[in-house]
């Protein structure tokens, strides 16, 4: 069969912050570049980001600098990070944020006209550049408008099914289908950048959209790359819990950064009871001290509500289990009694509307009911920090799909800055690779045809399962067994269940035609969701300790032994239903001067 075909130098899969930033870099180098996205342009996850983007610009606290940001990121990540990524991120984020203003971004300002910065958990200083609580919209619109003004080709509503290699084992392109028509398209390119975002859709309660099915994670695995830290999943402490229809929807950490506090059903500000030793020295031990801090960070230590997300999510979980939860199984987040209505509406306009319109709650007067929601995957494709290159020649990865930057737990605001720092670096890495490229990419035709056939199989079957039933069962299974608090028996159960899900996916029946058929689209998502879930469960059972976004009931402490390596997964068969091999992969050795930064007492 022949399909519509396109040739490029660089193909970027994903039009979130990472993909668009990469495209700008490649386009500026004069290369032929295309961006492919499952949705329309401007609708990627990045648009949903609320609170802000972290960069040590020092606009509000001149004491801030890259060293402190680096230290905060490593501590937040419980030292599992790729130190070099954390270092580059901390050093380059300020310049990347400022650059956005040349392309039209308009951040909220300080009194003296600089970019304003707000407080977030785990960041020692107010560090998040923001626009109210719609920072992601500002980021994606700015990059989108820049890309459009440069005339970059964008293929919207094209879903990439799999990457295709050439005969030498280099990545040579991909095969996709157009959602509106259901027709297949092939793309050949000298380099491919994965910027496909996250994988939260495999859990029942999630802040992620239908797009977050881990396609890029899975495609990298199937292409021969390694995935690391997959057990590290961030459950954001504050998702909406009621009404059920919005369960999981995000409530920005900005609420706590701007003065909101957590209370249990007894009205107690319980976070004071959950300060881990590692954070005790820098955390307030009374409400009076904590409350002074908001206005002046030298007047008191930080409130415990602003501990890193893993700490707060676990605390909420414990309170609810102890019977001190709210009627719908969450706890209370209160800003209404602490800040003026005018302040709340100005700083948190979309939170105000979200609660007013969807829950009928006026957050300037009432408390919000919140609980943890699956939000972000720290794990991802193993890359070289400087170039974003994976172990597969010609394949690069940046943004949420890449692993290493955030270690075991990501700090709020560090993702948007990650996108622009490593999106740019992936663009540079891919462009350099293309400039040294010999020959021209040739797609392995047999592989293209096999991918097409496999995706069409659900139409051929006489009988089979509805993909929506499989998705629902998968989400419930993962939520119940690979959730916030994990234990060996449940994880082992999950691993064996995932094998039966694999069989169920092979028996899907899709109804209707190929044009804009969401059932079919879901059928093509499920192999990726299963591959990713398998890696998560395998990493989780092997990591016999608790660290960041991975908490084991049967191993509640962090262990020094496990602090020295990541678990790396690969797929020798390069197939979604093939076996996964998991190995220990040593962390990079950190240079002495950076180690010293971590050890400095504060």
């Amino acid at each position: 069969m022949t399909y519509e075909h396109h040739d490029y130098d660089v193909l970027i899969i994903g039009a979130g912050g990472a993909g668009l930033r990469a495209a700008i870099e490649v386009q500026q180098r004069g290369l032929r570049v295309a961006v492919i996205t499952k949705s329309l342009l401007g609708k990627a996850h990045t648009v949903m980001a609320e609170g802000g983007m972290a960069a040590a610009m020092g606009n509000v606290y001149p004491e801030d600098n890259w060293q402190v940001h680096f230290r905060d990121t490593m501590r937040g990540g419980k030292y599992l990070n790729n130190y070099r990524m954390a270092e580059l991120h901390a050093k380059e984020a300020p310049e990347r944020v400022q650059e956005l203003e040349q392309w039209g971004a308009l951040f909220d300002r300080t009194k003296d006209g600089k970019i304003s910065q707000r407080d977030f958990g785990g960041h020692r200083y107010a560090r998040l550049a923001h626009v109210g609580d719609r920072t992601g919209l500002e980021l994606i619109r700015t990059l989108q408008q820049k890309v459009v003004s440069m005339g970059t080709d964008v293929f919207m509503e094209h879903k990439v099914l799999t990457l295709i290699h050439d005969s030498e084992g280099r990545v040579a392109g991909c095969v996709a289908y157009q959602r509106p028509t259901g027709e297949f398209v092939t793309f050949a390119a000298k380099a491919v950048v994965l910027a496909t975002g996250g994988a939260g859709r495999s859990w029942k309660f999630t802040s992620n959209s239908w797009e977050g099915t881990g396609d890029g994670h899975a495609m990298a695995l199937w292409a021969g790359a390694e995935l690391i830290d997959m057990e590290c999943i961030q459950f954001h402490p504050t998702g909406m819990v009621w009404p059920l229809s919005v369960r999981g929807l995000l409530v920005t950490e900005g609420v706590r950064g701007d003065g909101g506090v957590l209370r249990n059903s007894e009205g107690q500000r319980f976070m004071f009871n959950y300060v881990a030793d590692m954070f005790r020295a820098e955390t307030a031990d009374s409400e009076e001290e904590a409350d002074k801090w908001y206005d002046d960070h030298s007047a008191g230590r930080r409130p415990p509500e602003l501990l890193p997300r893993d700490e707060v999510a676990r605390a909420i979980n414990t309170e609810v289990k102890a019977g001190r939860g709210s009627p719908h199984g969450g706890v209370y987040l209160d800003i209404g009694s602490r800040r003026s209505a005018e302040f709340i509406r100005r700083r948190l306009p979309s939170m105000y509307h979200q609660f007013m319109e969807l829950a009928g709650v006026d957050i300037t007067k009432e408390s919000m009911e919140i609980g943890p929601t699956c939000h972000y995957i720290m794990g991802g494709v193993k890359v070289d920090a400087d170039t974003a290159a994976t172990s597969v020649p010609g394949l690069f990865a940046a943004g949420e799909v890449a692993g290493g930057m955030h270690g075991a737990n990501r700090l709020g605001g560090n993702s948007l800055s990650d996108l622009i720092v490593f999106g740019r670096r992936a663009g540079m890495g891919a462009a350099d690779f293309v400039e040294g490229y010999q020959g021209s990419p040739r797609l392995d035709e047999a592989a293209v045809n096999a991918a097409v056939e496999e995706s069409l199989a659900p139409f051929e079957r006489e009988e089979g399962e509805n993909p929506y039933d499989i998705q629902r069962d998968l989400q419930e299974m993962m939520q119940a067994n690979v959730g916030i608090i994990r234990t060996r028996s449940e994880l082992e159960y999950a691993i064996s269940e995932l094998d039966s899900f694999t069989e169920r996916v092979k028996n899907i029946k899709v109804k209707g035609g190929r044009a804009y058929n969401p059932g079919w689209n879901l059928a093509t998502d499920l192999p990726a969701m299963i591959s990713v879930s398998k890696c998560v469960a395998r990493g989780a059972v092997l990591r016999e300790e608790s660290r960041g976004g991975h908490t084991r009931e049967d191993f509640p402490q962090a262990s020094a032994e496990f602090a020295t390596f990541n678990f790396a997964h690969s797929s020798p068969a390069k197939r979604w239903d093939g076996e996964i091999v998991t190995e220990r992969s040593a962390l990079l050795e950190m240079p002495g001067e950076l180690k010293a930064l971590l050890e400095e007492g504060h």
């Binding site: 648009v47 400022q98 229809s245 969807l358 929506y468 044009a515």
Partner: protein
């Protein structure tokens, strides 16, 4: 268990018809929830767009009981009792079911001459909150294109699309024109090619905007004063915008790439 009957338009460019689905309805649910329930049970091939389910991405616009609304922000308990009718946006060609071809908007976006700022000083630009606020209002736009859908200039006049940018892009032009760093001048373009003169300020666009952007009062009317009125008064315009820079000519605007 409460139930709701949904009358959903199903079909494609060749035509279609309404289908009725009676499904469960739970407390607090929005239209998108029941559309998802229909997909998960009776009609897995029912096409609709959505992403954030929180009114932030602008993907899920459709006409609910004849009015453009975001499906994810329209609570069933706030609609009148009885059947709920859901149809695709009328102004755009149908792809399938509730999904329309909104590429008109992306074509208009491609015609917008980029921001042209002065070189950035080493320590970044200085701008003041009161200077950025006007453009910030327009940058809240989530590109749901419901204002485009409701605007009568193109709603039933396909032929006007060739020379009419529509309210979403009028706010985009207003945003750039009021941007404290911009030095481009897009006046001729807005008047001659973007059809600002066709707008007769009916305010239908403002009424449907889910971001409550005052499209007509804050963007279109000032823009009209600036580019359409014969007696354009530069001093009055400048007075509206604090600390702004001089503009270049429109022809420069079209060719100058932003940094």
């Amino acid at each position: 268990m409460a139930q709701v009957t949904m009358r959903v338009w199903r079909g494609d460019a060749n035509g279609g018809d309404f289908e009725r689905y009676t499904v469960e309805q739970n407390e607090g649910e929005v239209v998108l929830d029941v559309i998802h329930r229909i997909q998960a049970t009776e009609a897995p091939d029912l096409a609709c767009r959505w992403n954030c389910k929180a009114g932030k991405c602008g993907s899920c616009a459709a006409e609910i009981n004849g009015k453009p609304r975001l499906m994810c922000m329209t609570r069933l308990d706030q609609l009148p009792e009885g059947e709920v009718t859901v149809t695709p946006m009328r102004t755009f060609p149908i792809i399938r079911d509730l999904v329309t071809d909104v590429s008109f908007n992306f074509q208009m976006a491609a015609k917008v001459p980029a921001l042209l700022p002065p070189p950035m000083p080493a320590e970044g630009y200085r701008m003041y909150q009161e200077d950025v606020e006007r453009s910030q209002e327009f940058r809240k736009c989530i590109e749901c294109f419901m204002c485009q859908d409701v605007c009568h200039v193109i709603r039933d006049h396909e032929e006007n699309k060739a020379h009419y940018a529509g309210p979403r892009f009028f706010i985009r032009y207003a945003e750039l024109e009021m941007h404290p760093l911009d030095t481009n001048d897009r006046r001729d373009l807005i008047r001659e090619d973007m059809g600002l003169g066709y707008c007769n300020i009916t305010k239908c666009c403002t009424e449907v905007c889910p971001e409550h952007i005052k499209i007509t009062d804050n963007a279109i009317i000032p823009l009209k004063e600036r580019v359409v009125d014969a007696h354009y008064d530069p001093v009055a315009w400048l007075g509206r915008k604090i600390r702004r820079r001089t503009k270049r000519s429109a022809s420069d605007a079209a060719v100058q790439p932003a940094p």
